[in-house]
């Protein structure tokens, strides 16, 4: 998009710096790909006969089916919740639209396992509600465990992906297209079907993709809800059969690729009307007498996703219950979380810098390739990445196995896209004429970068780092697989407490995680200039 201006091609003195940038980017890209390479090698080294035997076991087939059903059901539920909410908050005169928008987007940053923990600790056996109802003669509640509970919880924390993308699409929808359809003999419903739906489809597909990828990679929720899927089985197999774990990981990657393919087909050829300008004249659908009924929908969703977990956790905090002894929260766990997250944020930002800079300049296919590779971490589930790093360390440098450096490395690979995305955006927002002006004023190219570009992108770098920091604090599967023995963080403690029904002890770390989530939405909103109006 940028025009090539005076001096864009005159950079011979910057050559060594450019080569350095490319080398650094290549190194990062290689580091991102290396674990996956080892995983594939590991899987291929399994003798074919035993591979077939492992993969055709009825339990393995069951896991595949479970995962498939879970992904399809949750994604469908996300669309059913996310799209109407987006429509209500963008296209109607719903009262307090801004407040609802923020409230309903909030679950986006809450890790679903925290929600799952809250639901299990409230509705499961030995849960709050169970305790409460037992004196009344209620022996058992309908089980929260299994497919239905998992779909419920995952939907509550992943529909915002669809909500946010559908909102963006609805906001760029030129409402004159709807007017046009109506003057061409289409009533509101028909106009919605023939004009709005085609406009929404790519965005909803993109949001659905994010939901599906999240569901596939999530370990905590299905584990807490006792539903066997790829992630949970890979996690438990990692302790007794690396062969099975690696084969399942490959299978999971295959399913991920399949999801990506389905999404790109659904999206179809994009012909969005965004270029024709946005909505006109605050043209909104008047809800009429439904105007005061409609808020019940976002209210119900927000209550289930936000109020119930917070309420349950606060209750546990006040009244710890009679959990098993020996499981008690220690503030050093929080300190452990913070220290690895700081390391991950710093390293990810540094590693993302050369890639983001080259990508923002869009100067070569190689730069694009590096950027693409840096995004691999997004698509690779944490449990697969953890397993791949177990392979890598045990087969090359056993001394690194289950050490902090390898754990931090996993975080960097996983959350590099956040750093690259944020940094790239801030490089793009710097007018290329500014460093050029510095050059004409006698600075070297590196001097111009340091004195002009870097100060301008600093807020973006910080925003990216903050995002990596906060998401690292919430990361569960890789942490469980790669942490040094005895190294306990907020999430691993939550995991252990859940296993031991020590719900009261887990209230503090769970609430801390919620607070971290709330902090990260502030960063997300600020960094992306997300317009909630």
């Amino acid at each position: 998009m940028r025009t090539i201006g005076l001096g864009d091609r005159v950079r011979d003195d910057a050559r060594p710096a450019r080569i350095g940038l490319y080398l650094a980017s290549a190194a990062v890209a290689a580091a991102v790909l290396a674990p996956l390479g080892w995983l594939v090698l590991g899987a291929l080294s399994v003798p074919p006969t035993s591979a077939v035997e492992l993969l055709t076991r009825s339990t393995t087939v069951q896991v595949f089916l479970n995962s498939a059903v879970l992904v399809v059901a949750t994604t469908a539920a996300c669309v059913l919740v996310g799209v109407p909410l987006a429509w209500l908050t963008v296209r109607t005169d719903l009262p307090y639209r801004r407040a609802w928008t923020i409230l309903v987007a909030l679950p986006l940053v809450i890790p679903s396992y925290v929600g799952a923990f809250a639901f299990v600790s409230a509705f499961g056996p030995r849960g709050r509600l169970q305790d409460l109802l037992a004196p009344l003669g209620v022996e058992s509640l309908p089980s929260i465990y299994g497919l239905r509970g998992t779909v419920l919880v995952l939907t509550l924390y992943t529909y915002p992906y669809v909500f946010v993308t559908a909102r963006a699409a609805l906001k760029t929808l030129d409402t004159r297209l709807i007017d046009a359809a109506r003057t061409l003999r289409h009533d509101r419903k028909a106009a919605f079907r023939r004009v709005v739906v085609p406009h929404l489809r790519p965005a909803v597909a993109a949001g659905g993709l994010l939901s599906a990828l999240y569901v596939l990679s999530d370990l905590g929720t299905p584990e807490f809800m006792r539903f066997q899927v790829f992630a949970t089985v890979i996690y438990s197999a990692s302790t007794y059969s690396l062969d099975l774990a690696s084969l399942l990981s490959l299978q999971l990657l295959g399913v991920t690729v399949l999801v990506l393919a389905v999404e790109s087909r659904t999206r179809g050829e994009e012909r969005l009307a965004g270029t024709q300008g946005g909505s006109h004249r605050g043209d909104v659908v008047r809800l009429g007498r439904w105007r005061w009924v409609a808020p019940l929908f976002p209210a119900a969703v927000a209550a289930l996703a936000l109020v119930v977990p917070v309420g349950v956790l606060l209750w546990w905090l006040v009244d710890g219950g009679s959990g098993l002894t020996g499981v008690a929260f220690d503030p050093t766990y929080a300190l452990n979380s913070v220290s690895v997250a700081v390391a991950a944020a710093a390293l990810a930002t540094a590693a993302g810098l050369p890639i983001a800079y080259l990508a923002a300049r869009r100067e070569s296919p190689l730069a694009n390739l590096f950027e693409r590779i840096s995004y691999v971490g997004y698509a690779v589930p944490g449990v697969v990445l953890g397993l791949a790093l177990i392979f890598l360390t045990t087969r090359t440098v056993p001394a690194l196995y289950q050490t902090l450096p390898i754990l931090v490395f996993a975080y960097v690979v996983r959350f590099l896209p956040q750093a690259v995305g944020s940094t790239r955006a801030s490089f793009l927002s710097v007018n290329p004429r500014l460093p050029e002006a510095a050059r004409t004023l006698g600075r070297t190219s590196i001097g111009a970068f340091r004195r002009v570009t870097l100060p301008l992108v600093a807020p973006g770098l910080l925003g990216g780092a903050a995002l990596v920091f906060l998401t690292t604090m919430k990361e569960l599967p890789a942490t469980l697989l790669l942490r040094p023995t005895g190294f306990e963080t907020l999430v691993t403690f939550l995991w252990r407490a859940q296993e031991n029904y020590a719900y009261g002890a887990a209230a503090v770390p769970a609430l801390l995680l919620l607070a971290i989530s709330a902090a990260s939405i502030v960063v997300v909103l600020r960094g992306e200039g997300y317009d909630v109006g």
Partner: protein, 387 residues
């Protein structure tokens, strides 16, 4: 303007086109005392208008005068707060009734066209024909592509079409369901200036060929005057004057209309003995449109447009004149290529604009005499009307 195709279609240019309109007196659309407010702001205020079968009527006015709102009220995209709208004798809005746009039988060509970006040109044109049989639909779509002359682009998507082509598709799409009236919202505002003139003639040809009644909305007076059979000048939510273009231009009924249609200057004068005494000399009463005897011995303002008056240099030959006996002096000049626009401040304080081509150039500050050269009657307003 002398495109022979257009003339062959029996549609353009001079006065005879008005006579060619079929059944000129049959009213197809009637707005009666229609009002529309947005919050506390009144967009359309007590507006009445009737549109005759087969004519092209243009609502002309500055932005914010309520013309687009009027169009949206007719289309059913807005509901009036008061008054009534009748289409083909049936009430479609007002008095508690409201017919939705999809059942109103009104076609709209939107500003920037609002073509569906995910559909081809052909699918766009066929969009409003979903209730037709496949064969009828195909035949109708064929006819329309033929009418707008765009057969080669049927499978193109809107973003692959030029501005003029998009407009043809938009026109064809809105004409496809055979609406009883077609509304055009600033139809040329999205086109380059060169293309605008060309498309004005083309759109007029298409509308006349289709025989459709049309209301267009614009703030461009040249467009309004050249496209329409009648022009309605709007000001602050109401119609100031309706009539054929020549009439509205030459006999404006209000100072607003006079000022909005091209440059307007006012020469104040005193009526006495069959002449109007003005700062630039005497203008015969015969040249003043419909000035009746009751205005004898009163002051009036005569409307002069830049081509009605000419500025002549004073005392150039002997070099002696100080200009004290000149009518006024040039205070502004704008070189426009073929012509020059001069603004002359008269000794009595009036300012008039003159536009003409002169081999010699009058510099700013030059003393000039101003002469009324109009070969048609001039409009006028009683002096008191302004105060």
């Amino acid at each position: 303007m002398s495109d022979s195709d257009v003339d062959a279609a029996g549609s353009h240019a001079t006065g005879d086109r008005r006579a060619a309109s079929p059944a000129p007196d049959e009213t197809i659309l009637e707005l009666e005392r229609v009002s529309k407010r947005f919050g506390s702001e009144s967009a359309v205020d007590d507006l009445s208008l009737s549109v005759r079968e087969g004519e092209i009527l243009t609502l002309l006015g500055p932005s914010g005068c309520g013309k687009t709102t009027t169009l949206r009220l007719v289309a059913g995209l807005e509901r009036p707060d008061g008054g009534e709208i009748r289409l083909e004798g049936e009430s479609v809005a007002g008095q508690g009734r409201y017919t939705a746009p999809e059942t109103r039988d009104v076609g709209v060509v939107f500003q920037e066209f609002a073509l569906f970006p995910h559909l081809t040109a052909e699918e766009n044109v066929g969009f409003g024909l979903q209730d037709w049989s496949a064969a009828d639909r195909e035949a109708r779509v064929d006819d329309l592509f033929d009418l707008v002359g765009l057969e080669a682009q049927r499978d193109a998507y809107p973003d692959e079409l030029s501005g003029g082509q998009q407009q043809r598709v938009a026109l064809a799409r809105s004409l496809a369901p055979e609406p009883s009236i077609l509304l055009l919202d600033e139809p040329f505002s999205n086109l380059d200036v060169d293309l605008r003139v060309e498309m004005r003639e083309e759109v007029r040809r298409i509308l006349k060929d289709a025989g459709v009644t049309a209301i267009s909305v614009t703030h461009d007076q040249e467009e309004a005057l050249s496209l329409s059979d009648r022009v309605a000048v709007m000001h602050e939510g109401a119609i100031e004057q309706v009539g054929p273009p020549e009439r509205v231009f030459q006999e404006p009924e209000s100072r607003f209309v006079a000022g909005f249609l091209g440059h307007a200057s006012f020469l104040s004068g005193y009526v006495s003995d069959d002449v109007v005494h003005t700062a630039v000399g005497e203008v015969p009463v015969d040249l003043i449109n419909g000035l009746s005897s009751e205005y004898e011995a009163t002051r009036i303002d005569v409307l002069v447009r830049p081509d009605d008056v000419a500025a002549r240099p004073v005392g150039r030959a002997d070099g002696h004149s100080t200009g004290t006996d000149a009518d006024g002096e040039v205070i502004y000049r704008q070189y426009l290529g073929p012509t020059v626009l001069y603004r002359v401040e008269l000794r009595e304080g009036d300012v008039v604009e003159c536009m003409h081509n002169h081999t010699e150039q009058l510099p700013v500050g030059a003393p000039v005499d101003v002469e009324v050269t109009a070969d048609h009657e001039l409009a006028w307003f009683p002096k008191s009307a302004e105060e």
